[in-house]
Symmetry: C2
Subunit: 642 residues, 2 copies
């Protein structure tokens, strides 16, 4: 018995899978050609008619004999007697004549056109040759002509061409029947998840079934979803065996990592022929596949991104194989419905794990003539990153270090007008995020990278952002931003705009159970603090406050714990992971936290002097001044709008 391969590359895994299922297996059946949109043809299609089936006029004009028009020009028109020509509309048959003169090249003695017998003589100002403005029989398609081949997927144009060509029925492959089996003791159905007010820790919603159903729909296929199965090998085994007998493809969403839930490999081996296990890609590494009684069975890891990647990279090409459709070398673009592939530059340094291909979900922006991209959260569990991504970057296995500026191909999945997208890099504030739908409604676009106040100014200085935002306190003179802007602008004439003042303070759990009143209490060692990243204005403020209070970072338990946004820090406090954090009032208020005000600080946008020329600048300006945004910010609390 041949052993299945382990820890193979995706290419090897796919080859193994396709070699195991070398030909189309779905039933051929005859369907009405007009219903065939999206079906894969099982036989070549030939025209049954000539189109047009008669000699037709290609224009509105007069059917004539070409030789009667010899020498006609606007200066030397030819006159034809009644009976030597005949009016034809576009598409009308031309009989007894060999060409058609366009109406624009004629004039008549009497009123235009009605009936050629009434118009007297026809004056023609252009000389014709035989066949001019005539559509020959079969000009579009000829009887017997091959118009589509087996393995072609029927397009909109082909559906209507087949009708014209008199094709009533075609032989097509049945659509594949696929069953998706979600498993796991921790998994609850969508209905349960939505209906439960309180969901216990450890419970995860079965989102994979819904994603799979949706992406199958986008591929033009249906998907049956089984109820969630518990982690009982006997139950799963029975379900997979039955499914393999009934379906063309079986997908199992399972934990197949090294752990207590690791039943899948055993089940597949017992039921059939294991093909591969562990694919050198991230996410998706624990994927595996088997041939069970002639049916492909693919097991995807349970994390949403791992499952998605397994569907794109393994299930999709198998579906095409079962249908007899050609599998393009770029089938991934097809699977994710990519609309364009662009070359872009890493905005950040990136380390790719050795020997493992990576699937990055990225956002892109065009700044200073360069197209940049940056990966969103790489976690296999982070579905948001897929919903938010502009595109997917597939880093090959051999990739290791990608310094900032490394080029890679981004398969775009959203149609973005990059010329109208502003890239904002800078200090985090949830109010800025609320600008996005308003700006987008005006036809422009706004991408946010939260990199802290200093990170934003640095990016602006490197021409990697259209605008930055900062609230940087200079402790030497108590000013905000001015000195920092001077330093980063490096002689350039940057502009600034006050967006609002906002309240910063210490956030604690509701009702402040640890009785924190100020920074001294944070240094007691009792409370765990959640800090912000270096370069964040809020961290600058913290450091200043610590010095003012005669404290040092080492006095603060948790000084090295880092959240990137105010909401993230607030969430750490709200969920009890930390006892306190420094942050803005609106974040505390959003999560119902206790808030001890510390500072009122200006939050400013900073941009270069040619910013107003950007096609989206006006939309940003309008959004900032909009009632909608100002009202929303006011509702959040903790802001003073100028």
């Amino acid at each position: 018995m041949v052993r299945s391969i382990e820890h193979c590359s995706l290419d090897e895994a796919l080859k193994t899978l396709l070699d195991e299922f070398p030909t189309a297996t779905l039933k051929k059946h005859n369907i009405r050609a007009r219903d065939a949109l999206g079906f894969v043809l099982a036989a070549d299609v030939y025209s049954r008619k000539n189109v047009p089936h008669y000699t037709a006029s290609a224009v509105d004009g007069y059917a004539v004999m070409a030789r009667a028009t010899a020498g006609a020009t606007p200066a030397t028109p030819v006159l034809l007697e009644s009976g030597k020509f005949s009016w034809v509309n576009t598409g009308m048959p031309v009989e007894g004549y060999d060409s058609v003169v366009m109406v624009e090249d004629t004039s008549t003695e009497h009123e235009y056109p009605a009936d050629s017998s009434e118009i007297g003589r026809l004056k023609i100002s252009r000389s014709l040759t035989q066949g001019d403005n005539i559509r020959a029989v079969g000009e579009d398609v000829m009887n017997g002509q091959l118009i589509a081949g087996r393995g072609d997927r029927v397009t909109c144009a082909l559906v209507s061409l087949m009708l014209c060509a008199g094709v009533e029925e075609v032989s097509a492959r049945a659509r594949p029947r696929t069953l998706f089996i979600p498993t796991g003791n921790e998994i609850v159905s969508g209905e349960e998840w939505l209906s439960d007010e309180y969901t216990p820790a450890g419970v995860v919603v079965d989102s994979n079934s819904l994603y799979a159903e949706s992406i199958f729909a986008s591929w033009g296929y249906e998907l049956d979803v089984a109820p969630v199965l518990p982690d009982e090998p006997g139950i799963i085994k029975g379900a997979v065996r039955r499914a393999a007998g009934e379906y063309d493809l079986v997908l199992v969403s399972a934990g197949s990592a090294k752990g207590t839930r690791d039943h899948s490999a055993g089940i597949l081996s017992e039921l059939g022929k294991m093909l591969f296990r562990y694919v050198r890609m991230k996410p998706g590494r624990p994927a595996m596949a088997a041939n069970i009684g002639g049916t492909p069975v693919i097991v995807s890891p349970g994390f949403p991104m791992s499952c998605a990647v397994t569907l794109w990279s393994l299930a999709y090409p198998v579906l095409k194989r079962l249908s007899g459709e050609k599998i393009s070398s770029d089938y991934i673009s097809e699977a994710i419905a990519s609309i364009e592939t662009v070359e872009a530059l890493f905005m950040t340094q990136h380390s790719s794990p050795q020997g493992i291909a990576e699937w990055l979900r990225v956002k892109c922006a065009s700044v200073g003539g360069n197209m940049f991209f940056w990966p969103l959260s790489a976690g296999a569990s982070v579905l948001w990153s897929l919903a938010e991504a502009d595109g997917i970057v597939h880093l090959p296995e051999k990739t290791l270090e990608c310094p900032k500026g490394t080029a890679a191909s981004v398969r775009l999945v959203k149609r973005v007008d990059f010329s109208k997208r502003l890239l904002f890099q800078g200090s985090d504030d949830p109010a800025v995020g609320l600008l996005v739908p308003i700006i987008r409604e005006m036809g422009a676009d706004f991408a946010i990278r939260t990199v802290g106040s200093m990170g934003g100014l640095a990016a602006l200085g490197r021409d990697e952002a259209h605008l930055a935002a900062a609230h940087l306190l200079d402790v030497s003179d108590g000013t905000y931003n001015t000195n920092y802007i001077k330093q980063f602008a490096n002689g350039k004439n940057w502009r600034r705009r006050l967006i609002f003042y906002r309240a910063q303070g210490i956030m604690t759990a509701p009702r402040n159970p640890k009785g924190i009143r100020g920074f001294a209490d944070l240094a007691s060692g009792e409370a765990v603090f959640e800090n912000r990243q270096p370069g964040a204005g809020t961290r600058v403020l913290l450091d200043y406050m610590l010095r003012e209070n005669g404290l040092s970072p080492s006095d603060i338990r948790g000084y090295d714990r880092i959240s990137i946004t105010h909401m993230e820090a607030a969430n750490k406090v709200a969920s009890g992971v930390a006892d306190a954090a420094l942050g803005i009032a609106s974040a505390a208020s959003a999560l119902g936290l206790h808030f001890i005000p510390i500072a009122r600080e200006p939050y400013e946008f900073v941009f270069s002097e040619d910013f107003a020329e950007h096609p989206a600048a006006a939309a940003l300006g309008k959004a900032i001044e909009s009632e909608e945004w100002r009202d929303a910010v006011a509702r959040m609390g903790g802001y003073e709008l100028p």
Copy 2:
């Protein structure tokens, strides 16, 4: 009253239309978020839950306190007593500990893992910091976080993200209700067209409704189709008035060219506000639009390509506007479901009409490091060209002469592995076309340009084809191809392969009603001959035969009439447009023509010496030797296979 604009550019037409309908008009309604795939959101969507909603392990391993692992390395592991750690699967809650050590970084005294109480002490070989391998609450999405904006179309990823985020319902725009009204006395329904054995001249099938229905389906919309209406202004007017009251968008497929069927403009003006008429594009020029009681009504010309272009360029953006979806500057790519835009070079010289934008349906091939494209038939009536096209080229209005080699952007609508596509240029033979599905089934591809024997050799010489085909008689020595190849190869070492011998002869109508026996009869002036294009081997043969028979071109009536393929010439004869043509036996036989054999000629493929290195060369070789192809060729008749 403002007059509607006439003969405007597409940009002007679209602007007029969108300015008239500036905001989303479709009803907002609440739908289940899980059913929202493809719907356009009418309101921003915020997360209702933290995801995850508890502190979760990101790996399989042991939950521990980070400080207990201080200094651990493989060389200096740390030992933890039972009770100081707890096994966690990926996704399980982590409570009472602040980090997780991956199982790979541990070993146990007893058997792996079962229950931490049974395994004795845990040996840890990696030092952790707080939060390592832990997914914080809200790591994916935070409660209250904006996850999608109004105007966004719901994607597969968003559908499942909304489920995770506890979003049960969303406000979405209703799908637009659109009515398509085909009109024209000459138009018959698809059912009639398919059921009629004999269709009278002048009758055209209503293929536009089916195309519109299909492309609406591909956009995720439904389309109602009205019965075909006759050219009766009163009837059409009533139907449009009723439709404008009932639907969100009304499309009328009509003849609106200057002619007797020209009712549409009058009807629109009487019923509402005419917006524009005549758009400077080809096809699609007679398109027009109006606002009838607040409903957009778009009239497309009746030819299939004109109708298609009107749907893409005018109906699609209006649908997006009604839905409140952003209209990308490249909405055309979206409308035609383009999967990539590539720069390519005109394979031929092209003259674009002055001041009129053109929509070309093109095929592409990559040869000698250049991506080329060539327009398929440009006729507005030629639907085949759309079904066959790899992509669409939109030539702006200002384009005039495009010399061979001019670059243009091709919006690809098919996913072609160009590295595996052979470009064949040369002599026409229907048997060559039968290779295509066989080659495609092997995962390679084959594009055919029929340019005649000499055209093919010339293209090969310019490195614009992977292979050519010729049957060129050298009258000086009676050889075929040898001397021509020498001339065109220009010192290069070209290879040739005999594909078959084929019978050439004179084709006439069945039973040869004009009693044509040979070339002398063609010179009688009685019969109209259909010739082939200069450079075609068949024309070379004709010229030779004429000389042999002491005749000159001027003796042959129709010598200047040109068909590009054998089937086209045969079709001219079959449909009575010509009385005779020179062509191959298989073409005559396909159309049941009378055939007078004249010559048996070798038909050879010609290619450069490195041809075998092309990734598709092997597939071509196999196809030529396949039973399937050889049987098909034998069935056609008139061939001798080597």
